[in-house]
C-alpha cells in the first residue's frame, strides 16, 4: 500500500460519474444594504456533475469569482441553497465549513496563497493534516512528495515559495489542492499570473484530475482554455447568461 492510497482510503468511494455533485438553487450573494448594496451573484440555478470540467467566464465584476468562492465554501450566500456532494453547505457555521472544505474541496488561487514559511512539501502536507485524513507524519510526507512528483516538482520539495517561480508555486498550489483527492477542485484564474507555457501546463494538470472523477470548476478570462471545458458558464451582472456544453460531453 503506498502513501497516496492511504490518503485515498480515508475518503469515501466516488458515486456514479454522471450524478450531480453541485446543486445550486437561487444562489444570491449581496454585500452591504440599501443603496450601498453590491450584488455579487443573483438567482443562480446550477447543477454540476461529478467528473465534469466547468469553466466560468465573464467580464470583470460579472460575479464569476464570487460564484467560485461560494462553490468552494470560502464564502456563504446571502440567500438560496447550495448542496455540494450531498451536503447543504449554505447553512454551515464558519468552523463546520472550514472542516468541510478540508475534506471536500481543493482550492487553487490565482495568487497561490502558499504559506510563505513552509516548504513546498510542507505546504502540501498541511492540506493532508487539515483534511483530517488521519495519516501519520511519515505517510503524509510521502503523499505530499508523490503529489509534487505528479505536478513535476519532485526536485523542489524542500524549496520555500520565495525560492520558486510563479509557475512552480502554482503547481505546488495544485498539488496541495489535489493531494487529498477531493471530489471538487475550484480554481480561480489559476493561470492568470502565469505565462502561456506555464498556464497550459497548469491547465493540463487540472483537466487531468477530472479524468480520475474529480469535478473541476475553473474561473478564467481565457476563452481558449474555456473551450477545453465540458461546459462553459457565461456570467453577466451576477447572473448566468448562458451555459454552453461541449459537443460529446
Amino acid at each position: 500500500m503506498n502513501a497516496t492510497s492511504v490518503i485515498t482510503a480515508a475518503t469515501p468511494a466516488p458515486p456514479a460519474v454522471d450524478a450531480a455533485l453541485i446543486e445550486a438553487h437561487d444562489l444570491t450573494r449581496i454585500w452591504g444594504k440599501g443603496n450601498a448594496a453590491q450584488i455579487g451573484v443573483s438567482g443562480v440555478d446550477l447543477t454540476i456533475r461529478r467528473g465534469e470540467v466547468v469553466a466560468v467566464i465573464g467580464p470583470s465584476g460579472s460575479g464569476k469569482s464570487t460564484l467560485g468562492a461560494l462553490l468552494a465554501g470560502i464564502d456563504r450566500p446571502t440567500s438560496g441553497s447550495l448542496v455540494v456532494d450531498g451536503t447543504r453547505i449554505d447553512r454551515m457555521k464558519t468552523d463546520q465549513l472550514a472542516a468541510w472544505r478540508g475534506r471536500h474541496v481543493g482550492i487553487v488561487f490565482q495568487d497561490f496563497h502558499l504559506l510563505p514559511t513552509l516548504t513546498a512539501a510542507e505546504n502540501v502536507e498541511l492540506a493532508i493534516e487539515l483534511s483530517g485524513a488521519g495519516a501519520g507524519r511519515r505517510l503524509r510526507r510521502t503523499a505530499a512528495r508523490a503529489a509534487l512528483e505528479r505536478v513535476g516538482l519532485g526536485g523542489h520539495v524542500r524549496k520555500l515559495p520565495a525560492q520558486m517561480s510563479g509557475g512552480e508555486q502554482q503547481r505546488v498550489g495544485i498539488a496541495r489542492a489535489m493531494v487529498t483527492q477531493p471530489p471538487l477542485i475550484v480554481a480561480d484564474e489559476p493561470t492568470g499570473a502565469l505565462d502561456q507555457a506555464n498556464g497550459h501546463a497548469v491547465f493540463g494538470l487540472l483537466t487531468g484530475l477530472a479524468q480520475g472523477g474529480t469535478t473541476v470548476v475553473f474561473i478564467t478570462h481565457d476563452l481558449a482554455l474555456a473551450d477545453a471545458a465540458d461546459r462553459t458558464i457565461s456570467m453577466i451582472d451576477g447572473g448566468v447568461a448562458s451555459i454552453t456544453t461541449k459537443a460529446g460531453a
Binding site: S65, T66, A69, A72, I74, D75, R76, T94, D95, A98, A99, R101, G102, R103, I107, F109, Q110, D111, H113, L114, L115, P116, T117, L118, T119, E122, E125, L126, A127, E129, L130, S131, G132, R137, R158, K159, L160, P161, A162, Q163, R176
Partner: protein, 735 residues
C-alpha cells in the same frame, strides 16, 4: 490636514489605536514630572508660610535672651514660639502651638476658614479637631475654634494654634520653649555656625537646646529627605516608564509606516520619487504623533499631579494645587516628535528601498527564505507543521519578535519589581524591629528629660532610658541610652563587644559603620542637642538601623541632665506608672500598625506607577500582536481556506507566543530583580543603612500565569477579529 483625514477615514480603528498608544506613551513620561511637581508645591508652601532656616526646642527663654540671639552675626531674624503636648477631652493626644499672630514672620498660619484668634481662649484648629464655632477641650480647659488652618511645619499633624501668651502660660516651666531662626546666608555651613553660636549664647544664661536643632539649608524642608527618597524611586520607575513608552512609540510608528509598503510601491511604480515618498511617510507618522501629543501631554500632566498629590498628602499632609513641569512637557513633546521622526525615517527608508517588483507582489512582508537564518530554521525540527509555522513566523519577523519580547519583559519587570520592592521594605521593617522585644514604648511628649532613670526601677519588665536625635558624620542618627544590662534590646553584635557600664563606649549599626568606614576601636564624634561628644566604638550591631547605642547614664550626662530619662520600654502593653508629664504610649501593635499604614501608602504610590508602566507595556504588546496578525491575515485566511478551523488558528498563535512569552517573562523577572537591587542599593547608599534585598518569589507563579492567561485571551480576541470577515473577502483584499 486633508491627507490626515483621508488616512483616518481609511482605517479609523487602527489610527485611533495608534494615537491612543502614542498618547499613553507620552503620558507615561509624565511620571518623570512627579518629583518636580511635588517639589514645586513644597517650594510654594515654604515661600507662603515663611519656613525658618533653623528650628529647635530650648529651655524657656527670657525676652532678653531672645534679643541677644537676634543680634548674633548672620541671623536675619529670631522668633520664639511655644509648644505643648495637650490631651483633648476624647483622649486624643496632640499639641498646642503658641504663635504671635500679630508680628511673627516665620511659621505663618495659613487659614482655610474663619479668622485668627484674638482672645486667649480662641484657637485655630485642624478641621479634624472641631468645626469653626465649636468649643474644644484641651488639658481640661475650653477653647473656641475660630478658624481652620495649618502651618507648613505642622501640616502633617492635627494640632491647635493659640496665641503665644496662652501657650507660654501653660508650659511646665513657663515661657517660650521653641526657637525659629532665619539666616542671611542659608547655606549649610552658615546654619551650622549659627546653631553653634546660639547654643553658646544659651549656655551663657544656663539654657540649652532640648532637641537636636533642625537645619534647613538652601530652602529645604525636614521632609526633603523623605520626599527625595520617594522621588528617587519614582524617578527610577519614571525612567523605566519612559523606556517602555519609547518602545511603544517606536513600534507604533514603525507599524504605521510598514503597513503602507504596498501603497508606497504602487506610488513608486507610478513615478513617485523616493525622497517625496519618504517625506510623505514621515509626515503621516508626525501627524499622528502630533495628535497623540494633544491627548498624551494633558494625560501626563494629570498622571504627575495625581501621584504628586498622593505623595504630598501622605508625607507632608498638604494638598497641592495643579502644577506643571514644563521641562518634562517639553521633553515629552520634543522627544516624541524626534523619536517618531527618527523611527519613521528609518522605516520609510526600508520601505522605499525594497525592490519594487517584490514590494508590489509580496504581501507577507520580507520574503521568507532569502536569509541564512530562514534557511537554518527550516532545517531545524520544530515539531509538527503548526509548530514549524509558529517558529518560522517568529524568525520571519525578528524585529517584531524582539519588540514583543521586550514589551512583555517590561510589563513583567514592572509587575515583579513592585512586589519585590514591597517585600524588601517589609523585610527591612521586620529586621529593624527584630532586636527590640518591648510591648510598650512611652515617650515624654514635650522635649526635655522629665523622668528619673529610676522611675520604673520598682517594677520588673520595664526600663527607663534616653532616645534622642543626634548626628554622626553629618548623618542624622537615633541615639539610644540604654541600661547596659537591658532586657529589651538584643544587640546582635556582629563584631566587637556590647557596652560596659558607665563607660564612654558605643555600639553602632553595622551598615552605618561600614558605609562611613568607622571601625571597632575607633572614636566617633556624636553631635547631641547639647553639643558634640566622643565615644569609643566597641562593637557593631546587625540591626538594619542608623543608630548608636550608649550607656544611658553617660548619655544623660552628655545631654546636661544626669540621671534623667525621656523614654520607658516595658514588657507590659499598658504600664501603670504616674508619669507626671504628658506622655505618648504606643504598644508594639500600634507601632506595627502605624508602620504598616506608612508602607501601604508607599505601596499604593509605587503600585500606581507600576500599573502605568505595566499598562503601557501591555498596550504595546497588544498593539504589536494586533499589527502582526493584521499583517498575516492573508496567511490565516489561506489556512482557513484549506480547512483550518479557528481552534487551529488559535493554537498556532498560542504556539508562537509561548516561546516569546517565556523569553519575555524570563527577561522581565531578571529586569525586575535587577531593578529591585538597583533601587535598594541606591537607598542603602543614600541612607547609609543596610536594607537587604528580598525578591517576591511568591509573586512569580501569579505573574507567569497572569501573563500567559492575558496573552491567551489576547490571542483569542485577535484571532476572532482576524477571522470575522469571510475568507474570500480577506483573500481578495490581498490581491
Amino acid at each position: 490636514m486633508r491627507s490626515m483625514l483621508r488616512q483616518f477615514k481609511r482605517a479609523p480603528g487602527r489610527i485611533v489605536a495608534s494615537i491612543f498608544a502614542l498618547a499613553l506613551a507620552v503620558g507615561a513620561i509624565g511620571v518623570l514630572a512627579i518629583p518636580t511637581v511635588a517639589g514645586g508645591t513644597l517650594d510654594d508652601a515654604i515661600e507662603r508660610d515663611g519656613l525658618a532656616d533653623i528650628v529647635v526646642d530650648t529651655t524657656p527663654l527670657e525676652a532678653s535672651r531672645l534679643d541677644r540671639i537676634s543680634r548674633i552675626d548672620g541671623i536675619e531674624r529670631a522668633e520664639a514660639e511655644a509648644s505643648l503636648a495637650v490631651q483633648m477631652d476624647d483622649g486624643f493626644l496632640t499639641r498646642m502651638i503658641g504663635l504671635d499672630f500679630e508680628s511673627q514672620t516665620m511659621d505663618l498660619l495659613h487659614l482655610t476658614a474663619g479668622r485668627f484668634p484674638s482672645a486667649p481662649d480662641e484657637v485655630v484648629a485642624a478641621p479634624a479637631l472641631g468645626a469653626v464655632g465649636s468649643r474644644v477641650t484641651a488639658n481640661g480647659a475650653e477653647y473656641e475654634v475660630v478658624g481652620h488652618g495649618a502651618t507648613l511645619w505642622w501640616s502633617d499633624s492635627d494640632v491647635l494654634y493659640a496665641p503665644l501668651d496662652t501657650v507660654t502660660a501653660l508650659t511646665p516651666e513657663g515661657g517660650t520653649n521653641r526657637l525659629v531662626v532665619t539666616a542671611v546666608d542659608d547655606s549649610e555651613s552658615s546654619l551650622r555656625a549659627i546653631s553653634d553660636a546660639i547654643r553658646a549664647e544659651l549656655e551663657v544664661g544656663g539654657d540649652t537646646y532640648t532637641t537636636f536643632p533642625i537645619l534647613m539649608p538652601d530652602g529645604s524642608t525636614p521632609i526633603d529627605q523623605d520626599i527625595s527618597q520617594v522621588s528617587t524611586l519614582i524617578g527610577m520607575l519614571g525612567v523605566f516608564a519612559g523606556l517602555v513608552a519609547l518602545v511603544l512609540l517606536a513600534s507604533t510608528t514603525n507599524t504605521l509606516i510598514t503597513e503602507r509598503t504596498r501603497e508606497v510601491a504602487v506610488m513608486r511604480a507610478l513615478g513617485g520619487r523616493s525622497r517625496q515618498l519618504r517625506r510623505r511617510l514621515r509626515r503621516i507618522a508626525l501627524g499622528i504623533t502630533g495628535v497623540a501629543l494633544l491627548i498624551g501631554l494633558p494625560l501626563g500632566i494629570a498622571i504627575s499631579n495625581v501621584i504628586a498629590r498622593m505623595v504630598l498628602e501622605e508625607f507632608v499632609g498638604i494638598t497641592p494645587s495643579i502644577a506643571v513641569d514644563w521641562w518634562v512637557v517639553g521633553f515629552s513633546a520634543v522627544g516624541a516628535l524626534i523619536g517618531a521622526r527618527l523611527v519613521a525615517a528609518r522605516a520609510a527608508r526600508k520601505v522605499v528601498k525594497l525592490p519594487l517588483a517584490e514590494a508590489l507582489r509580496d504581501r507577507e512582508g520580507r520574503p521568507f527564505g532569502r536569509s541564512w537564518t530562514h534557511r537554518l530554521i527550516t532545517r531545524i525540527p520544530t515539531g509538527g507543521l503548526f509548530g514549524r509555522l509558529a517558529a518560522r513566523a517568529s524568525v520571519h519577523r525578528p524585529a517584531h519578535t524582539a519588540a514583543v519580547v521586550v514589551q512583555i519583559s517590561a510589563a513583567v519587570g514592572a509587575a515583579f519589581l513592585i512586589p519585590s520592592l514591597t517585600a524588601s521594605v517589609n523585610g527591612f521593617n521586620t529586621a529593624s524591629f527584630a532586636p527590640w522585644s518591648w510591648e510598650s514604648l512611652t515617650i515624654a511628649s514635650d522635649a526635655g528629660m522629665p523622668f528619673d532613670q529610676t522611675i520604673v526601677d520598682d517594677r520588673t519588665g520595664a526600663e527607663a532610658g534616653v532616645w534622642v536625635d543626634g548626628e554622626i558624620e553629618d548623618w542624622e542618627v537615633d541615639v539610644y541610652g540604654l541600661p547596659t544590662d537591658t532586657e529589651f534590646f538584643d544587640p546582635m553584635i556582629g563584631e566587637g563587644t556590647w557596652l560596659e557600664p558607665d563607660a564612654r563606649q558605643a555600639v553602632l549599626s553595622a551598615g552605618f559603620a561600614e558605609r562611613n568606614s568607622i571601625d571597632v576601636g575607633e572614636s566617633v564624634t556624636l553631635e547631641l542637642p547639647a553639643g558634640p561628644t566622643r565615644y569609643e566604638v566597641v562593637g557593631v550591631s546587625d540591626d538594619y538601623g542608623r543608630a548608636i547605642y550608649v550607656d544611658r547614664s553617660v548619655l544623660a550626662a552628655d545631654l546636661g541632665a544626669p540621671g534623667r530619662a525621656n523614654t520607658v520600654w516595658s514588657a507590659d502593653a499598658e504600664p501603670e506608672v504616674d508619669w507626671g508629664v504628658a506622655v505618648r504610649s504606643d504598644t508594639a501593635a500600634d507601632v506595627a500598625a502605624d508602620d504598616k499604614a506608612g508602607r501601604d501608602a508607599i505601596v499604593v504610590i509605587f503600585g500606581a506607577i507600576g500599573l502605568i508602566v505595566a499598562g503601557v507595556a501591555a498596550l504595546a504588546v497588544m498593539s504589536s500582536m494586533t499589527v502582526s496578525l493584521y499583517e498575516r491575515r492573508h496567511e490565516l485566511a489561506a489556512l482557513q481556506a484549506i480547512g483550518a478551523r479557528k481552534r487551529r488558528l488559535r493554537g498556532l498563535v498560542i504556539r508562537e507566543l509561548v516561546p516569546i512569552a517565556t523569553l519575555g517573562i524570563a527577561g522581565g523577572l531578571a529586569l525586575g530583580a535587577l531593578g529591585n537591587r538597583g533601587i535598594i542599593a541606591s537607598f542603602e547608599a543614600s541612607n547609609a543603612i543596610d536594607i537587604g534585598v528580598v525578591d517576591a518569589v511568591g509573586a512569580i507563579p501569579a505573574i507567569v500565569v497572569g501573563t500567559f492567561v492575558a496573552l491567551v485571551v489576547l490571542s483569542l480576541v485577535i484571532v476572532r477579529t482576524a477571522t470575522r470577515r469571510p475568507v474570500t473577502v480577506t483573500l481578495r483584499s490581498a490581491a
